[in-house]
Amino acid sequence: MMLNGSQILIQALIDQGVDTIFGYPGGSVLNIYDALYDKQDQIKHVLTSHEQGAAHAADGYARSSGKTGVCLATSGPGATNLVTGIATAYMDSVPIVAITGNVSSDLIGRDSFQEVDIAGITMPITKHNFIVHDVKELAETVRLAFEIANSNRPGPVLIDIPKDVSAAVCEYEALPKFEKRPAPQLNASDRKQAIAAIKRAKRPLIYAGGGVICADACVELLEYSKRTQTPICCSAMGLSSVPYDYERYLGMIGMHGTPVANYATLNADLVIALGARFSDRVAGNREAFAQRATIIHIDIDASEISKNVPCDIPLIGDAKIILKQLMEAIKEQEHKEWCDTLQDFKTKIGLPKAAQGDRVDPRDFIYTLHQLLGDDAIIVTDVGQHQMITAQYYQFAKPRSFISSCGLGTMGYGLGAAIGAKTAHPDRPVVLISGDGSFHMNMNEMACAVSQHLGIIVLVFNNSVLGMVRQWQSLFYQKRYSQTSIHRRTDFVKLAEAFGANGYRITYRSEIDAVMKEAIASNKPCIIDCIIDPDDCVYPIIPPGKGADDIIYGN
């Protein structure tokens, strides 16, 4: 069958199992959009307001569904607008395939209109990228891009297609759907050592990261923990891998983690890091982290071993398979004393309690949100205080229900990501918890949510300040509030209405229930402007570069 490059691209995407793409048209992708026109019944195209929104949407789609997110943009500014979204996906190991058009081959290198070297720009923030020079290589490149994006540790891949390549004609043969490359095989002596260390341990702790969710190992994690009575804490990326009501779940670890999770790292004699990378937000002081513990690091990416914190026993491979292998060797263990100690600590020192009074404290609002939304809800966040309070207090019941830019910390990530999550799961409640700072960055995507009929609830915790930066100015810069009191005059209720969405305002605690119930029932996109205290700080906090001993509990 003779097809042009654009038809080949669209057909190759369909052959790789794609049914949804997020994008924005432009000069260099006119051919591709023309081919898309014929395949609208097979590929749904979600038109965002801005290419950044498309990249975040592809990311949110991938994180919430486990499938590959695909975004499409034109050359030049279209391509550079994807960059923050690609970097976000790279830092959090999210499989996305970004497709950019470029100017025709004969115009490349001449500083042509809307020309940019996007392959060069995205080299450090992609697992790999391609410039397709010959239409004959296009179908295989698409298949390879999906293979790379999904194999072992997932991540973004970019394909740049010059306009003449998207027009050139060649014979098309359908390629089979990509297969993931085999995971590294576990080294037998490492496994033996790990099993011995686990059998020796009196105070074991699991530190679970995003890799558990990638590897689809949440069931095995829970089973392992139950069988061996090993408490679990999660990095931000690991949240939602363990159900909130599991008795040995300690909550989030690290800078804004729970007191008990951080206390456990100080006292554990064995830490099993599972698909986690000991980032500076977890191990602020790399030398002091889990000093008394033997560290077993289970990861599919060998370069994570001892990258930040020296590891005693590396187990390189797929987390799901490794957990199963460990469970074959270790049937049951009892760590009653250790579990009791942690339980006791947890009841004595928990997360800060919500403030009393009729004003809203986001803590109990978020804590009780789960009861209103149910287990099925997908919670998306932006970046800042609201993100950390959500991570601390929300009761996550199912894997892939917490969607947040944890590595890159991209303010403005949330609305695009929520669009992606809702597109993947139209029947599940999707709530974006944001702050007025973050939401201002990419609120243009409300236009997309409305035109796509995506019933996303945007809950803006509005304190008129850039809360997290301001908090650091309070704690570490003598309250010199440089450029963090933003005092916008945006009326979010009117804004919602202007976009064609519903707008609500919550000023008092007593209003929460009625507003939330109405917002959920309407199933229409809406913005809820929720007024909160600008001086509120997220506690506990382990100051940057410090260890769990230096935790500040706050008020």
């Binding site: 080299m123 790999h128 410039i131 370069s303």
Partner: protein, 168 residues
């Protein structure tokens, strides 16, 4: 901490952009490049990059693992000191006074270098040797007048039965 100097030999796909990917990785992660050379191999599909780098043991390990993650890098071999066979080329333009011409020719011969006359009193000197010998040669050349120098990075193979293909 103990800094270690290491010679890495990378087998990479022979297409454009590969060298950029490798050097980008070094600069974005703050790794050191002491010297680098690249060229095609016996199989036109592949190139070999020889990188001399330095760092603590843990950093060297990271460098190897991070390079291995690059899609275009097919194998990485650390060439051990005792098996290292490394050569680099230096070209030097030298001005030689009439009075010293005989000394110069003798000096070049003694060092197994080659000299070609460009102009009166002006010579092109070339030498292919280990990095240390090249360093020493340049030092001694200072007794004449050096006009300009260019030298390649080292290229290396292991003096062993094993090859980079064993690391694939």
């Amino acid at each position: 901490m103990n800094q270690k100097k290491v010679v890495l030999s990378l087998l990479v796909l022979n297409h454009f952009g590969v060298l950029t990917r490798v050097t980008n990785l070094f600069s974005s992660r703050g790794y050191n490049i002491i010297s680098l050379s690249v060229g095609e191999t016996e199989n036109p599909k592949f190139s070999r990059i020889t990188i001399v780098t330095s760092g603590e043991e843990a950093i060297i390990r990271q460098i190897k693992l991070q390079c291995a993650k690059l899609e275009d890098v097919k194998a990485i071999q650390e060439v051990k000191d005792q098996e290292l066979y490394m050569r680099e080329v230096v070209l030097v333009k030298v001005k030689v006074n009439y009075m010293k011409e005989e000394d110069f020719i003798r000096f070049v011969d003694a060092n197994q270098a080659i000299a070609k006359q460009i102009d009166q009193q002006l010579y092109m000197v070339e030498m292919c040797a280990s990095t240390q010998s090249v360093d020493a040669f340049i030092d001694k050349l200072e007794m004449f007048e050096i006009v300009e120098i260019v030298r390649t990075g080292g290229c290396a193979l292991a003096m062993s039965v094993g090859t980079v293909y064993d690391e694939q």
